[in-house]
């Protein structure tokens, strides 16, 4: 088992960042995510938004590992999220559905306001990688998958920045439209 964690601070308030999370795909930077479906979504009696999404991705595992286990290039991931707009927290847990008898990738991502500046948002990303069935190579394979996750996470941040920019531009346009309406 290999554990990986990373933290990043966005210079945007939580409300903007979580909008970008829900609208992150498609974006030209993270083109390996080819489909996103909402399996279930509801507002519970505590006022939190609970979602279950299915992500279909072009598998980012290194080619050597793909050949070794003889898998197709599409992989599915279940992602459960809980969003509390009062506390301004978003927690997402995800797990791979493809090939999960040999490889388990459990990820947890949280978004919350920066304690030192509520106008910023902290992303914390944790991943647990477990490879089984390759006793002599476990450490090597887990290391390989973990470094893939790290580089994908970096690309994910770039994708987020791209979508955040789009949302900000939309907000400006919406405001301008409202302004025009009221001045007509």
């Amino acid at each position: 088992m290999k554990y990986w964690t990373s933290e990043h601070t966005f210079n945007e308030p939580w409300e903007t960042v979580v909008q970008a999370v829900t609208r992150k795909y498609p974006n030209p930077i993270n083109s390996s995510v080819v489909a996103v479906d909402v399996i279930d979504r509801r507002v519970d009696n505590r006022g939190t938004l609970r979602s279950h999404r299915l992500l279909t991705t072009l598998w980012s595992v290194p080619e050597t590992l793909m050949k070794l286990v003889g898998m197709s290039n599409q992989a599915h991931v279940s992602e459960h999220s809980v969003m509390d707009p009062r506390k301004r927290t978003l927690t997402m847990n995800s797990r791979n559905l493809t090939l999960n008898n040999k490889l388990n990738v459990d990820e947890k991502i949280t978004y919350h306001p920066d304690p030192s500046d509520p106008k910023k948002t902290v992303l914390r990303h944790e991943a647990m990688v477990t490879v089984s069935g390759f006793p002599m190579m476990t450490g090597y394979l887990e290391g390989m998958v973990t470094s893939t996750i790290a580089s994908k996470a970096q690309q994910g941040l770039q994708g987020m920045d791209y979508v955040i920019q789009q949302i900000k531009e939309e907000a400006i346009n919406l405001n301008q439209m409202k302004h025009k309406k009221t001045t007509l």
Partner: protein
């Protein structure tokens, strides 16, 4: 964005459009009434059928996520 099944694409697009506006203009501003629920229902039914056909088994998640049972640091004492 694509759906896992081309059959569900139209339903997905209608729902996503509704959700994005609801999320930005209602949910983040304090409203809890989910006005997109009817659109979600027909889209969901389509996706569930596609999952069955493609033999995809979902992960039901950690039951305690976001509830009081979620793992928390121990209290004092």
């Amino acid at each position: 964005m694509e759906s896992i099944s081309p059959e569900c694409q139209g339903l997905k697009e209608k729902y996503d459009k509704c959700f994005n506006a609801w999320f930005r203009d209602k949910f983040l501003k304090g409203s809890r009434h989910d006005s997109c629920a009817p659109l979600l229902k027909s889209y969901q039914q389509c996706v569930k059928k596609a999952l069955k056909e493609q033999g995809i088994k979902l992960w039901e998640g950690h039951e305690t996520l976001g509830t009081d049972k979620e793992k928390r640091p121990p209290k004092n004492g």
